[in-house]
């Protein structure tokens, strides 16, 4: 017995839908960390777990895979970790392979494949409750003998059912042997054959196909009813995102406003107060205000995932998404981006294929997020008369707003189609996907995942968004205005100098120097541009008053083509540091992040240019 060896590391391996992540959550509870493997988009989930004898072991949850070939990034990373070839991750001491009891034949193949990789393996037959209900009976003794490894049954969703597994893990760790060399494994077909023979020996009763799933699918995958229900689910989801988020968003806003006035009163008027109030609190606050929307959206997305409905939604939307070369899985992340691109981009983790995921991330910011609405409504309110259209059925303003959404969607589809034949080109990926059995979501697992999302978002708000808010504040404040100067302070600041220099670039699209300057602090978040314009025009008062005066400024001193060009600019421009930070984190690549910034600014410029010139031509 090698007691000297501490820090035992166990890798969880299993196919998608085997309940592996549930088991991981049940074993580690909230003691887990989620990150990416360096250089790739593969998620690294690790956690601590205490054995019965008090020894602490590390658990790593490898991605769900069907085999250990080198075809997908998930497979490659899993293989590298298990064989000890990974650059960062040290080789685990033990593999806990999780298999779905209700689908033994398929999952045994992976178990057999794992045995060739030289590490001791324990098999957990998960979803034992479902197997019991469906009348499936497995002789674990025969299975253990045939496979030559310990076999335990588990119900990941019930903590009490994990005692067997815990005992087996303790025993395995006590008697652990050093890893052997890997040996080449036979072909998929050969392994499949062996798996089938073993499954036939171990299966006492085959059982029936899950009845609830069968009945529910008849309705939820019905060619007409299925679409109707899907649309109701989506519609309800977005209604509730806006409806439920309103109160907490107002609360967050008043909290930051309150904090600002408190500090205004209690601190002396100096640079530090200005940095706190106009830099940090205004900048971070304008991003944190979206937290309620993000959390509510994620609650829905996690429930859809946990119940098994997400796979059905992908089924229903697949044909439509196939038109632009994506698959059905891309739909929900894109829909989420209408609330905010950040949760949308984070939700692309459900897209299995790397290239499809990148394509989806690249087009997500083209979905009109809710931070654009204040900008759109200000400009539309100022320059578009609310004439009745079609005998008063619609208003012209509403129609223009709808048009802006539509242009975003159509551009996203075009960009996706272009990317798929250029940068993200590659072998077509099969849609091939298991439709998992329906399950009730587990509250504690939901909360763990939700917390992970919230933490990731707040971490960014506390780091990169904080830094950029401070940076933008410095740009807008320094150097100070010279004595006797007439323009507002910001005119003489670095932002002002940059904005005026950028005017050469922005003049062809009709932007005046005031807009050019406002675009720089507007990088914090889209709606901040309004406040920044207010500063440039030296408008006074609270938010509503500034908006009111801005409307008058736009109506009186902006030519119409300029206002329209500004609208066109906002459809495309990546005016949001938080989104860019999220893209950097999720793609794990500066190259893709820079590409996104580049292509979106180019499109914004092009669109604003065309709109400006067209409007000048038409108005003359």
């Amino acid at each position: 017995m090698d007691r000297a060896k501490k820090n035992i590391k166990i890798a969880l391996v299993g196919s998608p839908n085997c309940g592996k992540s549930s088991l991981f959550n049940s074993l580690t509870g909230s003691h887990q960390k989620v990150a990416n493997y360096p250089g790739v988009t593969v998620e690294r989930r690790s956690g601590k777990y205490t054995l019965d004898n008090g020894e602490k072991v590390t658990l790593i949850d490898l991605p769900g895979i069907y085999s250990l070939k080198d075809r997908t990034l998930d497979e490659r990373v899993s293989r590298e970790v298990i064989t000890g070839a990974h650059k960062i991750e040290t080789r685990p001491d033990l593999i806990l392979c999780v298999a779905d009891s209700t689908n033994l034949r398929v999952h045994l193949r992976l178990v057999l494949e794992l045995k060739y990789l030289g590490l001791p393996v324990i098999l957990a037959l998960n979803m034992q409750d479902m197997a019991d209900r469906d009348g499936i009976k497995i002789d674990t003794k025969i299975l253990a003998k045939e496979l030559g490894i310990p076999v335990v049954t588990t119900i990941a969703v019930r903590r009490g059912s994990l005692d067997n597994l815990k005992e087996e893990l303790t025993r395995a760790i006590d008697t652990i042997t050093p890893p052997r060399d890997t040996t080449p494994s036979p072909s998929t077909r050969e392994l499949q054959k062996q798996a089938r023979i073993i499954a036939e020996k171990a299966l006492i009763a085959e059982g029936t196909h899950h009845k609830v799933t069968r009945q529910l699918d008849k309705i939820l995958l019905h060619p007409i009813l299925g679409i109707v229900i899907f649309l109701i689910v989506l519609f309800g989801m977005f209604q509730l995102v806006y409806f439920w988020a309103e109160v907490p968003m107002n609360m967050i806003e008043s909290f930051f406003n309150g904090l600002q006035s408190l500090l205004t009163q209690s601190l002396p008027d100096n640079w530090f107060r200005s940095l706190l109030i106009h830099g940090i609190i205004a900048g971070v606050g304008s991003v944190v205000v979206f937290l309620p929307q993000i959390l509510i959206l994620f609650t829905f997305i996690l429930i859809l995932e946990a119940t098994g409905y997400m796979a059905r939604a992908a089924f229903i939307m697949d044909r439509l998404m196939a038109v632009v070369g994506l698959n059905g899985r891309a739909f929900i992340p894109l829909m989420s981006s209408f609330a905010c691109a950040i949760p949308g981009i984070m939700a692309t983790r459900t897209i299995e294929h790397h290239r499809d995921r990148i394509t989806t991330i690249m087009i997500a910011p083209l979905m009109t997020c809710s931070a654009r609405i204040p900008v759109y409504s200000l400009l539309i309110g100022a320059v578009v008369p609310n004439d009745p259209v079609l005998y008063g059925l619609f208003g012209l303003q509403g129609l223009v707003l709808f048009g802006l959404y539509l242009v975003g969607i159509i551009s996203a589809l075009i960009v996706a189609a272009v990317l798929k034949i250029t940068l993200t080109k590659g072998v077509a990926q099969p849609f091939l996907m298991e439709l998992p059995k329906y399950q009730l979501p587990i509250l504690s697992h939901l909360l763990i995942n939700l917390w992970e999302r919230a933490r990731a978002f707040l971490e960014r708000a506390g780091t990169i968004i904080l830094y950029s808010a401070i940076g933008l504040w410095v740009l807008a404040q320094y150097p100070k205005k010279p004595l006797g100067a007439i323009e507002p302070d910001i005119y003489y600041s670095l932002a002002g100098i940059m904005g005026r220099a950028l005017r050469v670039i922005f003049e062809p699209i009709g932007f005046n120097w005031e807009i050019s300057i406002a675009l720089i602090p507007g990088m914090a978040a889209r709606e901040v541009a309004i406040g920044a314009l207010g500063t440039v025009y030296a408008l006074q008062g609270n938010e509503d008053q500034i908006e009111h005066s801005m409307r008058a400024v736009i109506q009186n001193s902006w030519p119409l083509p300029t206002a329209f060009a500004f609208l066109a600019w906002y459809i495309f421009a990546p005016q949001c540091f938080a989104t860019l930070a999220t893209v950097r984190r999720e793609t794990n690549s500066w190259a893709w992040t820079s590409f996104m910034i580049g292509y979106l600014f180019s499109l914004a410029y092009l669109a604003a240019f065309i709109v400006n010139k067209l409007a000048i031509f038409l108005l003359n």
Binding site: R196, L221, F315, R319, A428, P430
Partner: protein
């Protein structure tokens, strides 16, 4: 007159609600050769295998694509294009 005959077809020819037995794979039927290379392994890995019974459970709303089939205890969704590579045999009643 009613006569039963066994015929070789592909999973994509099967209609909703019909049963058939998988007898093999013919990934070469795919036009995209790169795509075809891995298709057989992928089909095997997700649970398609010779001798198993498949049944079409659901079809997508547009052009009956994609489709959901039952193999053993599981339901698998795939596109018609992928189903094109699965050889089946079934009892046809004429």
């Amino acid at each position: 007159m009613c006569l039963k005959l066994m015929s070789i077809k592909y999973l994509s020819d099967l209609r909703k609600g019909e049963n058939a037995t998988i007898i093999g794979f013919e990934a070469a039927r795919c036009q995209d050769k790169e795509f075809a290379r891995d298709l057989e392994d992928r089909l095997l890995e997700i649970g398609f295998e010779e001798g198993l019974t498949v049944k079409i459970l659901h079809e997508g709303p547009v052009k009956r694509d994609p489709m959901a089939v039952r193999i053993g205890q599981m339901t698998v969704a795939l596109r018609r294009m992928e189903a094109d590579a699965v050889q089946i045999t079934y009892q046809e009643t004429q």
